[in-house]
């Protein structure tokens, strides 16, 4: 039961990450900032959940990562969307729209 909920959240989180990366390459902290900006308090995503999601996406070959110099003489890991990720995002976006459309329909009728 608990696990299912996590899965749902996970899938959603990964979708959001792909969407954010479509607008450009960025490192984890920036992605976190964007996430908070777009989802606000609705989806309370912590960095503790974000990074495993990023690693999973990288492992699946949907996004790529490189270490780059950052401000203050530090190095940061910068993520970018790969073509496969772009395709995946498109597919999932469509599916999500269908799903949410169907849910919206049911809820309106109820």
């Amino acid at each position: 039961m608990k696990k299912q909920k996590a899965d749902l959240l996970q899938g959603t989180l990964e979708l959001l990450v792909l969407r954010i990366l479509r607008s450009g390459r960025m490192h984890g902290w920036d992605i976190m900032q964007r996430l908070q900006l777009v989802s606000g308090e609705v989806l309370s995503v912590t960095p503790g959940a974000l990074y495993p999601a990023l690693h999973r996406l990288e492992e699946r070959g949907l996004i790529s990562a490189v270490w780059e110099p950052s401000e203050n003489n530090r190095r940061s890991k910068v993520y970018d969307l790969k073509p496969a990720g772009r395709k995946q995002l498109e597919a999932e976006r469509k599916q999500w729209e269908r799903f949410s459309g169907a849910v919206a329909l049911i809820l309106r009728d109820a």
Binding site: G48, Y51, H55
Partner: protein, 891 residues
Amino acid sequence: MNFERIGKRWRALFHRDEMEHELDAELRFHLERDVEENLQSGMDPEEARYAALRAFGGMEQSREECRDARGVSILEELLQDLRYSARVLLKHRGFTAIAVITLALGIGANTAIFSVMNATLLRPLPYHNPDQIVMVWGTNPAGFGWRGKTGFSAPSFLDYQQQNQVFARMATFNGVDFNLAGADNPERIRSGMVTSAFFDLLAVPPVLGRTFLAEEFQAGRNHVTVLSYGLWQRRYGSDRNIVGQNIYLDATPYTVIGVLPEDFDFTIPGYFESRGLWVPTVLPQDNSNSERGHKYLNVIARLKPGVAIHQADQDMSVITQRLASEYPGTMSKFGVKLTPLREQVVGDVRSPLLLLFGAVGFVLLIACANVANLQLARASTRQKEMAIRKALGASRGRLFRQLLTESVLLSLVAGVASLGFAFGGIRLLTRLDPAKLLQGINVTVDFAVLAYCMILSLVTGIISGLAPALQYARARQSESLKESGGNSAAKEGGVRLRRLITVSEVALSMILLIGAGLLIRSFIELLQVDPGFESKNILTARVSLPKYSYPETAKQSEFYRQAIERIKDLPGVVAVGVTGGLPSAMGSHTSSFSIEGRGPIEDSDQALAVEDGLASADYFKALGIPLIAGRAFSDTDDRSAIPVALINQSFARRFFPDQNPVGQHLRFESKSPWITIVGVVGDVRGFGLDKEAKSEIYLPYEQQGFLPFNPLPQMYLAVRTSGDPNAIAPPALAAIRDIDKDLPSPQVRTMETLLAASMAERRSNMILLAVFAIIALILTGVGIYGVISYSVTQRTQEIGIRMALGAQSRDVMTLVMRNGMRLVLLGIVIGFAGALVLTRWMAALLFGISTTDATTFFLTALLLAGIALLACWIPARRATKVDPLVALKYE
């Protein structure tokens, strides 16, 4: 894409530190950015740091998830499991030590037996295409010869060689002994005589010089020899200039033409030993009937490529039929039997080895059962550990894997330790081989043996760990988390499993014990057989008279007359005799003969099983063979006296069933005078105690001329002594040297040694199987003890209640004992059933008893039950000491 992934996994697996480092760097970067943000919004550094950590949410868990995302979990888990298992095993040293020793014993015994199998049954012979080489035997319906098989006569060998379509090459080999002259140590050298194709057939290239040329098999050119590597090294100090030099064999010069490779070892166990040097055989160009009847050439052949052995068999029988119609007198009953050389070399060790292999398999299974039982017993102490790990999120599969890893690690350690047992076992096996079955076979621990040992360890780990691992993993966490809660379902299952294991253990060792018991009983039966002579206090000496110094029979018998004279007068000597063949070391000689007043007993089936030989007057006295009727030989039965003979009881029974044989006449050759039978002596089991006595005719050694062949050049002296026979050896040998100082020293052995050697194979099989059975018995006893004492511990409370309610200690004793012995009896019954099925394969190894010998079954069952009773009694006694008050408080 794929390569990228593989690369990542590779990195993940082998550059763990680097990956960890990157992960740290990434997360730290994030935290630092957060802290910076917080600082900018006006927090103090301490607060900024805490806020960032709080916002991050579950740093360690996140890290773990990131690692999981990389997808190397199974390998990583394996490493984790191994580390954890090692810690657990190191922590419970007592358990680990017992389990490792138990398994190492089982695996080691298996590895040792396997290494012998590897060296014999599995290893190819050291010749080119060895599977093409066959031994070609002659057969006869009477079954005389070595194991009922003979060689070929020279003319028929040549016939088979010319007429066959199936062999690429055929060659003969025979043993011959030479006196090798040296500066001051003449030496008797066991040598081989071979025909031209022998070394080509085996495809053995010499290390030095060459082997024989075709023309060297003609008389006059045949004085050439090829040395074995061993003789070349020992006698000639590996001198490379030896080729071309002359050496003196029986005072005749032979030119050394080559040296054979070190690993060349042509041995047929029990029949033909490897030889020190080799010379050409010159086949007689003689097609007479007597030559054709003289079947002495041992033959090997190499099949043409693509020819199967049954095709060769057919081809042989076609030739055999042709020869039988051509030479009905000598060839009508002759047959040919082809035996693959490999079968010939390792055939004898196969059935005892397979028996021992089965036995050690049982020992290992029992060892596995014991270790599984030990692990199950630990279940109670480890249940909480498992429950906690489960509560922390370990899946059942993960727990199962971890427990199996532990068990496999345990058995791998045992596998390494077992190599010590295996090395010891191999030494023991090769030393326990007085039957010389492993002669010329190099038993080593090679890659195959190591691989076998490791695979066996792995399998052992899985077998012994499977049941306990399943048991643990199935245990329900809610129940186990509670302190030692009474009878949980899991524990109930565990108890049932342990009982099952105990029953199988008892059954397995019952089978092993019966097997060993049958061999022991056979051996006892064998020892009780009356050999027909008294083997105590007899010294024997094998004398070989070289042809060049003893050319005539008169000179040969003169030597024995002198030897008897001199040795007879030595102090401590009771009687001295000479014989052509001692019991247990008899060469077989068979001739056709006729009895006066009856038709000649031709080369028929019946007559062939009669042995004939020479003996001196005191031979029967020296061996303690009783005279049944008539008189024995006397010193006056010499060349000039009328010919006389003694027969044994078997002969008398067979040929004179209702006549007095004394006074009857027989002869071997139609023109020779009749030989009078003057007496009957007792039967002697001349070919080993497990063989029936044969019909025998003895002639006085000085009347050798009436025998169709001459055994005199090689005879045995038998000396009966009043004290230790070995003490007589030095003066007896000195006496022989006094007669002929150039005679190579005779081989001296006591009769008891010869007799023991004839039983050596049975003895070593018996000892080995008994050792394995005892190991099994001990392991089983320990196993039963473990199960019963565990159940006593489990039932302490129950026993306490019973005692509080008035049960006497005897009742408690009965309760526990009945509990244990029920398992034991069930095991014994199952073991009986198993033994009835399995011991059938042992029939050939038994003597005097059947495979279902009731005494053996009963006695071994009694032994096992006794050990089991003891194993139950110790914990049962402890149960009676339970203090009801303490037991009730215990919970």
